[in-house]
């Protein structure tokens, strides 16, 4: 078809250009200038030298035929999918002049529905990371792409011919085509195997499903259908790759807009302080060893189906915990088929079995747990790696290809030694990381924004990824490399990109009404030929668990005075792969608010036991490894539990991420830890040092019951005096009047908005030193307060805080040079050009949301970082104040678009970056002058309030007060 042809014109260019490697731009050092070229260059440089006192003349030449994409000044969006591990998220990539500059959630994607998280947002920074591997190298020497391709292909041809042992180790992938490609590549050899490895896998969950139901997989959970949810050390709202989907689903049952509202109730039982725990209605902190006993005791309260005598009874430490377990049992029992027990991915197989059992007896299969649809999970954990490690240690492997991942960092020194013994080690990766440093042949991997991909985020749902920029370096995607090698084995010439494009194109045939163009536009395609599974619990699985618990109880190694370690994946750098992302490193941890570090979190009592205080150091010894971590005291952890994040302490992450924090991977399987205080101290950079609301009118909260009695409780709790002004009338906003609502009940504090704002508004990263001084630049922050009314379990309040765009703004009148003004549409504006930097406005801001450029924080920007900046937003110089602009560039874009279409601006057309990223839809932006806009409706809700309302600064942001859904039995603990 004609339309198709035109549409893909730009792509042909991509294909054509990528097939001829660009060794000139790739930093190739080979000096291949002929005599003739040399002389012409010499002449040219002479000519330039003589005219160098004026700017070079650039001619503006119009397009003869305008390119479909890359219209100057106009943003183009491409549907794609963001892969991480075996998961993926549907995204829209915003490009300007052919450069991806911002990632948005794909609203067409049924899982993300437009929501994103920090990882996705930060992926654009990863694309332009100057530390990415830029050229192929052999034994640490730069080589040309052709040479690398030739040498690696001949190694593989040789291995093929000689029937050598070839092993491929990849990061896990949910891409069906890549999995097929890997399998068919492996099958070309007589002795080749493919292993995939992720440090955070669903291995235990799969094993538990295998034992419980005979199927090693992971069915999809429906948080939106559950009335009562019990989380057993799961962090589905936080450090979880599916968190955007889970947040979306969970918060859909937490919205309170009128007195007829219902809410789901979340109980969290956990041995760390996760974001899920922070958002739970009731939370119980346990030691890691107690989780299983708790779960079994709970099962015992619910059913007599199994022999409970073998279970040691759960030792209650407080009246709260006694009441808690009874209440959970009662609540679950009365919500059969509408409840859900979620077990943390990294928990033991046994706990997963008990979780499955609980869900089974509660009748949740087919209701809150899908019988039809499974979330992606593969055999990709440490257990899957055991045979490979053994082979490597015995030096049986001739050729080891590592694609992506970073096994040397994850698996440690032992793996590094084993890898260095392999004769031919080939690596394709994004960075020259720890594994690349131990490999002989290394080549750059294409970023997902530079390559074709496909994903199966759940059964029957396919999403495709398309390149949005030509590879910046002579890199290839994993699929391309494999296709090229596969062809080389058969001595064929092949266009790898074309192969991949065709594979993606084949998805268009999956559904009858999907054309190739529609597929690319939507980014997703759904098939509905899925047959339901049958889940019948196998009691034998529980028996073996009971045996194990009984034997453990005899050993009695879980006393109160024994220190236990709880590790968790980092919500910022995940397994360390994002260590070089400055945005993510500087992102405050959602609960501790720590940046640029992983810390040994412990309760004040534990610290007392260890005789340590904040920022002392402790040494944790286990498994023959000992690590020194800074102490961070945090309420809400069980006694003698130490928790820390995995993913830090990279040695070859790049200029940002190397040697940040401590690598705790050596302790990942540790039991019987020894902890002792060591000398020295370590400064921890947190963005918040005070955690108490002090009874101030900042956040109002109530329970669902009380809300129904008194829907306007914030107004009752806080008196806002009427303002008596010298001036008769308020300013009249004739056109638009922009405003925002933030629903504290929906906000889980995931930080997605913060990173989205970083990306949209070119916000500089300042580094640990400056965060320590309190000079972080993020325009948006999530304030976190602890409420310790319940002495057994502190509750947490999150509050996104950004410029409130006050109508009666204290910052505006104090600026001596009128550099901050109020717009006709209610925006509080910063005029960077006019700002001289008195900082008076920041001092006078009651919300402390203004940010000052104490240095030129963009001074050390390295190429190609500048390509990722949003061209619609000024990059600020030193000495200038800045703050949230309500994404004024987006407001103008929206207004222009409406004007071009000749229609009035519709509600919801303009979305701020934070709003767009928010998976919980907690942030709503719009025109307050339009009575039908959702922001107007939400602002007028009875439980809407203004932070520090009595100051009468008249903020444009209305917060919807927090409503908790306490169980009546437990209510007394929170009074």
């Amino acid at each position: 078809m004609k339309t198709e042809k035109t549409y893909w014109k730009s792509f042909e260019e991509i294909a054509a250009l990528s097939s001829t490697p660009r060794n000139d731009n790739g930093g190739d050092t080979s000096f291949d200038i002929s005599r003739r070229k040399f002389l012409s260059l010499l002449g040219a440089s002479m000519a330039l030298a003589t005219t160098s006192c004026r700017r070079p003349i650039h001619k503006i030449i119009p397009f003869v035929k305008e390119s479909e994409a890359a219209k100057p000044g106009i943003a183009e969006y491409y549907a794609s999918s963001y892969p991480i591990s075996d998961h993926s998220l549907g995204v829209l990539v915003k490009t300007r002049e052919g450069r991806p500059i911002k990632i948005e959630g794909n609203p067409e994607h049924p899982l993300s529905l437009g929501g994103t998280n920090s990882f996705v947002q930060a992926s654009v920074l990863e694309l332009y990371d100057p530390d990415r591997l830029r050229t192929p190298k052999i034994k640490n020497k730069k080589v040309s792409v052709e040479e690398w391709d030739y040498l690696t292909s001949s190694i593989l041809r040789h291995a093929h011919k000689e029937k050598k042992v070839v092993r491929i180790l990849t990061e896990s992938t949910g891409s069906p085509t890549l999995r097929n490609t890997l399998n068919s590549f492996v099958s070309q050899f007589s002795n080749a195997k493919w292993y995939e490895y992720e440090p955070f896998s669903h291995e235990n969950s799969r094993a538990a499903y295998k034992a419980s139901f005979g199927k090693a997989h992971k069915p999809k959970i429906h948080l939106e259908k559950a009335n009562v949810i019990l989380s057993l050390n799961s962090d589905f709202l936080g450090a979880d790759l599916s968190a955007p989907t889970y947040i979306k689903n969970w918060t859909s049952k937490r919205k309170v807009h009128d007195v007829s509202a219902t809410m789901s109730r979340l109980y969290a039982v956990e041995s760390r302080f996760s974001l899920t725990g922070a958002n739970a209605d009731h939370r119980l902190a346990l030691k890691p060893s107690e989780l299983l006993i708790f779960a079994l005791n709970l099962a015992q309260l619910l059913t007599h189906d199994f022999d409970g005598k073998k279970i040691p009874s759960f030792k209650h430490r407080s009246s709260f915990s006694e009441e808690f377990i009874k209440t959970v049992a009662e609540d679950l029992a009365s919500n059969k088929k509408k409840s859900l027990v979620v077990v943390g991915d990294q928990e033991s197989e046994e706990l997963h079995i008990v979780g499955n059992f609980l869900n089974f007896i509660l009748g949740n299969y087919g209701e809150t747990i899908s019988r039809k649809i499974q979330s992606p999970s593969f055999f990709n954990g440490i257990k899957s790696m055991t045979p490979l490690i053994e082979e490597l240690e015995k030096e049986k492997v001739d050729v080891l290809i590592t694609l992506g991942g970073n096994p040397v960092y994850h698996l440690g020194e032992k793996f590094r030694e084993a890898l260095s013994k392999v004769k031919e080690s080939i690596r394709v990766s994004l960075y020259e990381d720890e594994t690349a440093h131990s490999s002989t042949y290394i080549a750059p991997l294409s970023h997902y924004l530079e390559s074709w991909s496909d994903q199966e985020p759940e059964t029957g749902l396919y999403s495709v990824g398309q390149p949005t920029i030509q590879p910046l370096y002579p890199s290839k995607s994993m699929g391309e490399v494999l296709v090229l090698w596969g062809a080389a084995l058969e001595k064929k010439e092949i266009d790898a990109l074309q192969v991949w494009r065709n594979a993606i194109k084949s998805y268009a045939q999956k559904s009858t009404n999907t054309t190739w163009k529609k597929l690319l536009h939507d980014g997703v395609v759904k098939t509905d030929k899925i047959s339901p599974q049958n889940y019948e619990f196998n009691m034998a699985a529980l028996e073996s668990t009971l045996m194990l618990v009984a034997s453990r109880a005899e050993r009695n190694d879980s006393g109160d005075d024994i220190f236990e370690l709880q590790l968790e994946p980092s919500s910022k750098v995940w397994d360390g792969r994002f260590a070089n992302s400055a945005w993510l490193q500087e992102l405050p941890h959602p609960v501790t608010k720590v940046t640029w570090d992983n810390v040994a979190s412990m309760s004040p009592e534990t610290a007392k036991n260890l005789n340590v205080t904040q920022e002392n150091k402790i040494e944790i010894t286990a498994n023959g490894a000992s690590l020194v971590l800074p102490v961070f005291i945090q309420p809400g952890l069980a006694q003698n539990v130490i928790t820390t994040e995995i993913g830090y302490g990279r040695t070859h992450a790049g200029s940002v991420g190397s040697h940040v924090g401590v690598n705790v991977f050596p302790l990942i399987q540790a039991t019987n830890i020894k902890v002792q205080k060591v000398s020295g101290s370590h400064e921890v950079a947190t963005t918040q040092k005070h955690h108490d609301l002090m009874g101030r009118p900042i956040i109002f909260e109530s329970t669902l019951e009380e809300y129904k009695q008194e829907p306007d409780f914030p107004k009752k709790q806080h008196h806002v005096p009427e303002m008596h002004s010298m001036y008769k009338n308020d300013h009249e906003y004739k056109g638009h009047k922009w405003g925002m609502t933030i629903d504290l009940n929906s906000c889980v504090g995931c930080n997605g908005c913060v990173t989205a704002c970083d990306s949209e508004n070119n916000i500089p990263v300042v580094g640990k030193e400056q965060v320590l001084k309190g000079r972080e630049m993020q325009w948006m922050r999530i304030d976190r307060y602890y409420d310790t009314t319940n002495e057994h379990s502190p509750t947490v309040l999150h509050q996104p805080m950004l410029c409130q765009h006050c109508e009666n703004a204290p910052c505006e009148n104090v600026c001596p040079v009128v550099a901050t003004t109020h717009s006709d549409e209610g925006l509080n504006q910063m005029i960077y050009n006019r700002c001289v930097g008195t900082r008076y406005c920041a001092n006078n801001c009651p919300y402390k949301v203004r940010r000052f450029n104490f240095f030129n924080f963009n001074y050390d920007m390295q190429s190609p970082e500048e390509l990722g900046k949003n061209p619609d937003v000024t990059v600020r110089f030193r000495g200038v104040m800045e703050k949230c602009s309500f994404c004024v560039q987006r407001i103008h874009d929206g207004k222009h678009a409406a004007k071009m279409e000749g229609v009035s601006l519709q509600d919801g057309k303009i979305k701020t970056a934070c709003q767009q990223a928010c998976p919980a839809e907690a942030i709503v932006f719009g025109d307050l002058n339009d009575p039908n806009s959702s922001v107007s409706k939400l602002s007028n809700l009875s439980h809407g309030y203004h932070v520090l309302g009595d100051l009468n600064v008249k903020p444009s942001i209305t917060y919807l007060a927090k409503v908790r859904n306490y169980h009546p039995n437990l209510f007394k603990f929170y009074e």
Partner: protein, 460 residues
Amino acid sequence: MNNTQTLDILGNEPLVLGHQTRSEITEMVARPLDTFPNKKWFIAFLVAISILAMGLSCIGWTFYNGIGVWGNNNPVGWGFDIVNFVFWIGIGHAGTLISAILYLFRQKWRCSINRAAEAMTIFAVMCAGLFPLIHLGRPWLAFWLFPLPNQMDLWVNFRSPLLWDVFAVSTYATVSLLFWYMGLIPDLATLRDRTKNKFKKTIYAILSLGWRGSMRQWNHYETAYMIFAGLGTPLVLSVHTIVSFDFATSVIPGWHATIFPPYFVAGAIFGGFAMVLLLMVLTRQFFNLQGLITMAHFDAMNKVILVTSLIIGYAYTTEFFTAWYSGNTFEFYAFWNRATGPYAWSYWIMVSCNVLAPQLLWFKKFRKSIPVMFGVSIAVTIGMWFERFVIIVTSLSRDFLPSSWGMYIPTQYDVGILLGSFGLFFTLYLLFVRVLPVISISEIKGIMKHSAPVGEKDDV
């Protein structure tokens, strides 16, 4: 010379001791200007100018890198920069007060100290004026703070107290300078007539504006002096009132207070007098002016210090009372935090230096003891610097949202610039004592014994 001391009929001590003739007075004050500076002066000057150079290099480093080299942060946007500004502006108050208000009140004892006090005022205002310029994020655009006509029709914000500051301080600096210069004219003529150095003579001749000391000239002079005193008097009150508006008109608890204008003015007089006292003690000692700057002067100044200290103490108490009585949680916490929070040490330094130390001056013995008054003045100077630190830093470090609270820790550049401002002040003062008479020769002659016809003692 104490044996010559006799009290007049009202029981006041004489303000000029000894039996000097008029020419001897002129000689006493003007002689140092004719001689080559001695070793002591050179040592002092070297120390002062070295500190100034160090301060300037700190400022240079700040200009090169940005405000980030200081300790300022979010939430504490103003640190030593504005603390120093308010401190120096406060110091600058005593001069005009002595020369203008005391003149209008016919306080004769002002005559031997007004010259030095006015000079001090000008130097202090110079030090103060430095800070609003260097504290800017983009100091090269400092001229934007002035309402300069430009092609873009950009105008300054007349609603901003910082702009009022610009006007208040520049007006004050101008009036103080003119007032000082006017008072200098008869003395400059004296110097012109005395000196044999041609170069000096030319300069003094130009500066003395043809003063001949005729009756007519004296008549004009006295009238103009009176007008200037009248103009200067409201300025004494207005400048620090407006400086206090920087804080009082804001919304920050601890800043937003109606008591600020009188409290700041009293504090400024208090701190200014302490600085005058320090300088006078030193000047008297260095130039052997015991006959002209007497214990009676010190006694009077100490009384002013004592009274203003009581006003300050009262203001501190009132602030606390109001904070408690208002029932405003933010306000009360701000003050509670001052006294018990992480910066409590600075609050208690302030209270001990400003309220407790001056209580010694209730006793005449201490009011006339050079070591005690010197010690008290140093304490007051430190205390007044900390008062501004407490107001600015402590209030900003903990305002409305506990999530945004943070500590301010000054860096070596902050300290360097603070010391540098003292270097600038003393460098200028040391230059002043070398080129201009530190005591008003013409005025001191007016209060000598037998200077006035009998029966008209109170006429100046």
